[in-house]
Symmetry: C2
């Protein structure tokens, strides 16, 4: 990909993505796939005002080896210096950039039970730090091509051609055109208008139905609101947490989901695909699930902790979204979640509560925002998905008809 | 390079290099150049018994950007979590593997003054931790090809061919043959015999002379000893700190060096080359120096701190060493220092003092082991270098004649 185009993409992430402020720290998490791009991104963060940029490299191929050879004890332990590093993040609130490029099948064969156990043991230690950072920092997830990811999407091309083709797909769906910063200003405005309309309705619950069997009712929180595109941190800085992003989303009311929902795309979770699955809810909780492939991984996911069986997000995305129209299944949630309406299991978003700045995290959870160590999106949008809102004033308002905005 | 050969090399580093013990932590420092090899090395460390292996990736290309954009203040600061990480290293004494692959010219154009200032500010904070680790841990420096490094050595080859050729040179000089572990057992025994002979002489001072103008006398420490190849940590574990290694070396007496010495190979320091230089010593201290290229970098090096102007090492390597005979100038000290006799400016080795385990670091320094934040080797071996020992009993013993062991 041309360096001048990559530089535009880097500027987009630094300025509209995290919107780094003068003197702020930035931490970039990246795999080893595109170091040249990470170099450009580092430089653009500095040019945008960053006081210190740190790159934390990871290498997906090592994960399986670690989980194979390390003991549960060493995997579960959070060292004192790691705690000190989390405390640093609480004190300094660095902007975080997550650059994804992983092989969707990269963790195939990993010891899942060991992994889940270690994550569960580490989580209570990390959670207090995470809670103190949540909603206060600016962050952005974006993507670059990895070789294996590209070959999975375009198996008939050479590695170099596949990487180039994936670059094109990423940049197109991320609106990296002549002036991506202006494009994102316009796009953020569009999403804001959609959200304003939804919020003006005063929705009590959403009913999803589709010919695939989906028949689900999800209750919303009275003080909740739909968000989309640009967000604002508690420090008052705007940022775009996802590039790309096509969704208007909210945090549903914990305990209010009944019926069954069918996934319409495979779910890539921990480097593996869960395919053709459905989940039945009772009183908000997933009580029964089936999958044609990797059902045991779905079970692990839904039982990671108490909150993993409850919904954390309802997101509305037209079936005719640019990503869906690209015809590409990315095997990556950042993209695939923006191809269609989706739900998420696990952690909800406190900042979807009106006035969450004053209420605080605990109060938001009392109001119905779910709490969990996981947050996993899965796609439920289809060509004939209908979504009807029942409002607190009793009105029935069509929100989606035949997969698109009503 | 064939995977089976790389695996032998990895086994060599894990077992003879750091000689990792059951349950020990291992930290691998590596650039992004050869992730596949780092994966193999990680696995072989686990197979050899490591309880936890961490890879700390770095990317040389980022250094220039950081030093360009960051303030002196942020560059000089050691964060609390970094101190906690050093403390972890003091407590746990992880084995350290340093895998070198950097471009010898990779830091050309970097802001040297800023870099030196930051290093000088950080050093007093880090030093207490480093002193507590020194001589207690097992460590090993080895190399893998980087693309730019390979192209510098073999500019007429394609990148892939150059990388392959550099692999061959690294593996050949590192004795990675059919049974590299046995080859290193034999090699360590050879070096031990040489050192035993030197130590039996009771050398008071060494006189270096060569037709290139070198005429230098260096005093040794009475309690000093020559070491080479395998070392033993204070915990009692053997390890090979350098792969390859051809030298018998000792720590000279601080304050006892007089005369002039001419470098016989370029010195690659902080990613840049200092060429055709000489240093004149008086009372142990470098008092005058000249270089045809990068004299200001030499000045920076010799003035990093008080101890940087004093010698930290005298190493004896035959001119007909395998590395010198390969005809390759590696532009990397790990190799080039094993091509010829050399000296080092800066930090000396306390473990070159007889009984250093009981004496402790401070006492060793009182005896004449130099202290500095730097340790930089430079080559002085030549075809006609003669080294004559004056022993404490008054004998004159030829040690090197015409570049090789007498």
């Amino acid at each position: 990909m041309k360096k001048s185009v990559l530089r535009k993409y880097a500027v987009l992430i630094a300025t509209k993505g995290i919107n780094v402020q003068k003197g702020q720290e930035v931490v970039i998490n990246a795999d080893l796939d595109q170091p040249e791009f990470i170099k450009i991104l580092t430089e653009e963060c500095y040019k945008a005002g960053a006081g210190k940029v740190t790159v934390e490299w990871s290498y997906q191929s090592l994960a399986k080896i670690h989980y194979r050879y390390r003991s549960l004890k060493t995997l579960a332990k959070v060292e004192e210096w790691e705690k000190a590093k989390y405390q640093h993040a609480v004190d300094v609130l660095p902007c975080r950039i997550y650059i994804e490029s992983e092989d969707p099948d990269g963790l195939k064969g990993i010891n899942r039970r060991k992994m889940a156990y270690a994550q569960q043991k580490r989580y209570p230690v990390i959670k207090p730090y995470r809670d103190k950072i949540e909603n206060r920092d600016q962050w952005c997830i974006a993507a670059v091509p990895g070789k294996k990811w590209a070959k999975k999407l375009f198996p008939d091309l050479s590695v170099n051609q596949a990487v180039e083709k994936l670059w094109e797909a990423i940049l197109m769906t991320s609106r990296v055109d002549d002036d991506p910063v202006q494009a994102w200003k316009n796009h953020n405005e569009d999403l804001r208008n959609r959200c304003n309309w939804l919020n003006s309705l005063g929705i009590e619950k959403l009913h999803y139905s589709s010919s695939n069997g989906t028949d689900l009712t999800v209750g919303l929180i009275r003080q909740g609101r739909f968000c989309g595109g640009e967000e604002t941190s508690l420090q008052g800085y705007t940022f775009n947490p996802n590039i790309p992003s096509e969704e208007c989303f909210t945090s549903p009311a914990r305990g209010q989901a009944d019926g069954i929902v069918y996934a319409t795309k495979p779910l890539s979770y921990e480097g593996q695909l869960i395919e053709n699955f459905n989940i039945r809810f009772e009183g908000g909780k997933a009580v029964e699930w089936h999958a044609e492939k990797n059902v045991e991984l779905l079970t692990k996911m839904l039982t990671m902790d108490e909150g993993a069986a409850y919904l954390g997000e309802c997101a509305l995305v037209p079936f005719d979204s640019p990503i869906n129209n690209s015809g590409i299944l990315f095997y990556n949630t950042l993209f695939d979640e923006n191809a269609a309406c989706h739900l998420a299991m696990g952690e909800g978003f406190a900042d979807c509560i009106e006035g969450f700045e004053e209420l605080g995290l605990e109060k938001c959870r009392e109001l119905g925002v779910n709490d969990s160590m996981i947050h996993v999106d899965f796609m439920i949008g289809s060509r004939d998905l209908n979504i009807t809102a029942t409002c607190f004033d009793g009105r029935q308002v069509p929100v989606f008809v035949n997969g698109n905005w009503a």
